[in-house]
Assembly symmetry: C2
DNA sequence: TTAATCCAGTTGTATGACATCACTCAACTG
DNA sequence: CAGTTGAGTGATGTCATACAACTGGATTAA
């Protein structure tokens, strides 16, 4: 039925890729509506669908995406809750005026993506991977027994060679295994060094999907160790974000501590009323 | 059909109020699904529905709430996105293991509610309300012309008489009017002094509903003025949250600057993947 | 000119049917 | 006897259709 997907507010139609988003039949353990929402969310975050752009109406979206209208509506509800779109009863559905970006803390993206989306080149320095017994605090956060072995990943993250984040990731060693048994540390290191993402490692090697994260934010100031790692004066303002990532079954999977140089990034939060 | 609403994980049934949530016919300009979600959200946040509690199945919820199953599902999708519930295909719908609370920044609640939910008694000191021309920054945030008159509300917020937050609210003067014309400052002051909420004033007197807020978080340290207001040493860590509240039509309504004493509260963020 | 009315287009709600998944448990198999 | 298979049940997910409610502009009438 060749809906004119490109119209209204789009000045440069050739920039928009044809919208045939394929929602494959691949089994994802997620629902169809979530996959549709994810596809549309990518388009929005990549700027393919500009702010205030009017989407096709729901019946047309239904045929375009080859899913039913109720599925479309579920997906749109998801996006609406995230602040990506705005629905106006009797009028239409629009991309939000100011949709969330990667520096929005409501979106659980990693440091690498944050740096990249800010226009800088992500890098790593002082990579250190070790195993150690879990402290009481760590064990508590990860629902482990104190002393249980955990893998920790200590990195200084760079944005265009500037030290901007000190990150300390912790993962239960019992999770670091595939069908062949335990994954040796060098293999983990090789993967994370190349891809610069622990999330990718968890998803692709451990098949651990993260459902959501819960973050605590603490404003603090750099003591000696941090000041050294981040090459900033002692006492500089630091944003400390501690985060537990939760899997689909509700169990904590990973613990992340990130220390951001205060003026390196601007963080947003979408707060729904 | 008298569904046994209280069962499964609930140890103390008498604690749970009977669930007849009435979803009134009152015209709210919001959708039915949103009102249903709001009702359930209140029950969860007030602890009436404990974590991991299993909800009735959707058909039964439908009859209980006197709405259709599609409306129930829309409401549940909203709650699921906010991290309040978890749906498991083929199994059931459950209150989340760790549902968001008022100190979750993903929820747009005011300082007063935050203080109250922490178990402390909210209070106010150094109340100061003025009108002044908008600075360039303020005008930018509120989509006003620089120099346009704005109403500012300067408060030191107390938790059990301890100074914990310095807040500075800004509102375009052109919005501070009802059918009788402009609302005089003393009237605003009287209302906010008593209710300790600018949001309540905006909703009840100005009929301005806030759709969502966008917050910037900045870790910083207290300079002289702030240190004095908050009775803390200079250089203490401060969490600065600047927030623009957006109305249903997408226009900015209010600007809020809040400075939190670092260790006074613990802030959470729900980060969806 | 102005106000009321109509009308087309869109999202919201209701209803019913079926698909898919998870869990339990009986039956079967080696 | 341990392990596997499969039916059965009950839950959420998806589809299809119809209609209600709302918006905004065009039309019409005062």
């Amino acid at each position: 039925m060749s809906y004119n997907w490109i119209k209204d507010k789009v000045e440069n139609p050739s920039r928009l890729q044809p919208f045939v988003p394929i929602v494959g039949d691949s089994y994802d353990s997620t629902t169809l509506a979530q996959r549709v929402a994810e596809q549309l969310r990518s388009l929005i975050m990549e700027g393919k669908l500009p702010p205030e752009y009017r989407l096709p109406n729901e019946p047309d979206l239904s045929t375009l995406l080859n899913v039913s209208r109720s599925t479309v509506r579920s997906a749109l509800t998801i996006l609406e809750q995230g602040g990506f779109i705005q629905r106006r009863w009797g009028v239409g559905t629009f991309i939000a005026k100011d949709p969330p970006t990667y520096n929005n803390l409501s979106i659980n993206s990693g440091v690498t993506q944050l740096i990249r989306s800010s226009g800088a080149e992500p890098g790593t320095a002082e990579f250190l991977i070790t195993t150690r017994p879990a402290s009481e605090h760590v064990a508590n956060r990860l629902s482990l027994e104190p002393g249980a072995p955990v893998v920790t990943l200590e990195r200084v993250r760079l944005a265009n060679d500037r030290r901007v984040v000190f990150s300390l990731d912790t993962l239960s060693q019992s999770l670091c295994r595939n069908q062949d048994g335990e994954i040796p540390l060098p293999e983990i290191e090789a993967f994370v060094r190349e891809r610069q993402s622990m999330y990718d490692f968890m998803r692709e090697r451990l098949f651990l999907d993260i459902h959501h994260g819960i973050a605590w934010i603490h404003p603090t100031s750099a003591e000696a160790y941090l000041a050294d790692k981040l090459s900033i004066p002692r006492g500089s303002s630091i944003l400390h974000i501690e985060q537990v990532d939760i899997g689909n079954d509700g169990e904590p999977l990973a613990l992340t501590n990130e220390y951001y140089v205060a003026d390196a990034f601007t963080f947003y939060i979408y707060r729904s009323s």
